[in-house]
Point group: C2
Amino acid sequence: MATLELVAERGYDGLTVEGVAERSGVNKTTIYRWWPSKSALLGDALVEADLLALDTPDTGSLRGDLMALVNSVVRLLTAPPMADVAVAALGAAARNPELAAGTQRFFRDRFAQETTIFEQALGRGELKPEVDPMAIVDLLAGAVWLRVVFRGLPVGEDFTEGIVDVVMGGAGRGG
Amino acid sequence: MATLELVAERGYDGLTVEGVAERSGVNKTTIYRWWPSKSALLGDALVEADLLALDTPDTGSLRGDLMALVNSVVRLLTAPPMADVAVAALGAAARNPELAAGTQRFFRDRFAQETTIFEQALGRGELKPEVDPMAIVDLLAGAVWLRVVFRGLPVGEDFTEGIVDVVMGGAGRGG
């Protein structure tokens, strides 16, 4: 938690193992025993953070589950205090190979939780079997990232329902 | 160009106005007269860079134009030397408000070019009029960003055709 707090306050460049030791009251040598670098420390902090957990929604329909997933990504990228951490850490990962390994683990871990959504939708006959579930997550989560972080535009219900409608229209069936 | 080269080589944190002056042979004072900070300098460099230009495709069909758009985003994020610049600058924008203004301008500028695709598709009756064109761009470009930068996974034709199929299925009509 100290690691994530410090990233939120100072950005990735302001994060130091010394700072984490001070904030957490854990000896610096102890930290280095488990994490060789600040990027390894941040990678693990991201994967383990309960506050960054995505709920695995179970609303009874694919559309409902995808809306819940999109809303949890919107919260992750816009709601303080975690949005500052998430955006800073993900942005830093774009140019730091060692931190990228942590980010990749974070996305793998979250996707493993999300697969339930798609297994249930297949079981209910709501999802075209030829559509790759990871591509659905990438489309929706990517659209939110682009809009919030790169365009700096607000994300309202028009936007979230619009992107889910497009994806449901292309990936869903029946309904 | 010196600005973008330096970002590619050193990352955003390694970019300095001094470095740009040295590389470009332009006096530091002259640079500061036009750009108050390195983030302003980088913002303008991004918007003006021909190498970061997206082709505005005109293949005669919405599907063809969206495939071309996706392929140009893939090139932007994976093909050296510009991919290093693009990923470093966009990642840095995630936590720097002044640089974010430049990134936002870059995305506005590119979107102004992309609207032609959607006007033509509407004219041909290929696009549902209720779908927001910007949401289509956000879905496709966001999916490529997420896959390349955050997941670190390869982007093959399976992926690019898969995301365009989903978006065409939800946003297109007729066909």
